[in-house]
Amino acid sequence: MGSWTYAALLAGCLVVTAPLELVLRVRVYARWRRFLLAVLPEFVVFVAWVLYAIAQGHWDYSAALTLGVRLPGGIPVEEVLFFLVVPLCSVLALEAVRKVTGWDAGYPASPDDSLGSIAARNERGADRGAESGKGMEAR
């Protein structure tokens, strides 16, 4: 596979986990805005870590087995995508286990994430309410 080796591994992760969304209907892709918000801390911390590791010489990437697109700091584009793809697969796994077992993951199940017009209106209004009531959620 040569230069596509790393990219193919990432694609493989997405293909293997796709049935969780398409068949089991865990609705992670459907909640993509939430996912992007949730992945942000991980993405920032771990990309920073990799940039530090490259600068310090802790590890290096094969020029032959990556596409050769290096972003500032010398990080291969596949490595940046890794920190989005692997978290996505992890969330799919968590939601799948939650759906199959019914076990508590610490947040109320959402009865309908498709956001019909009424629910969407409520969400916009209620998000502001959630800010003011934030301290109450800690329990």
């Binding site: 591994l9 870590w49 590791a53 109320p108 009531g133 800690a138």
Partner: protein, 115 residues
């Protein structure tokens, strides 16, 4: 700081975030550990290919030395920190959004009943 030291720090850091900052307490939940058991199987596979084929090459001076499925054992700590931070954040975002949605629905019911 070596990769080893950073990996240990990262694990401590995410435990603090999960238990004390978000208070999502994912590491206390069976649902998390079953999901993590599934994730770690795929991590060992993917990371084994990445390190076995030398897509990623480590400086021997930055790691402890022992390897599992070609990858330095530090990668297990790295992976745990990464997955746990992601899932705790996902739980925190959903806790906020779903709780807000329920409150929103309640509010709507009260409003329409006064009309």
């Amino acid at each position: 700081m070596s990769y080893s030291a950073l990996a240990v720090l990262a694990v401590i850091g995410v435990l603090v975030v999960d238990l004390a900052v978000y208070r999502t307490r994912m590491v206390t939940r069976p649902v998390f550990w079953v999901a993590y058991a599934i994730v770690i199987v795929f991590q060992l596979l993917m990371n084994g290919v990445l390190t076995g084929l030398d897509v990623v090459v480590y400086d021997p001076d930055a790691i402890w030395g022992p390897r599992l499925a070609y990858a330095p054992v530090e990668d297990l700590l790295f992976g745990f920190a990464m997955v746990t931070l992601t899932l705790a954040s996902w739980a925190a975002v959903n806790r906020r959004a779903n709780t807000a949605r329920r409150r929103g629905l309640d509010t709507d019911t009260r409003r329409s009943s006064t009309r």
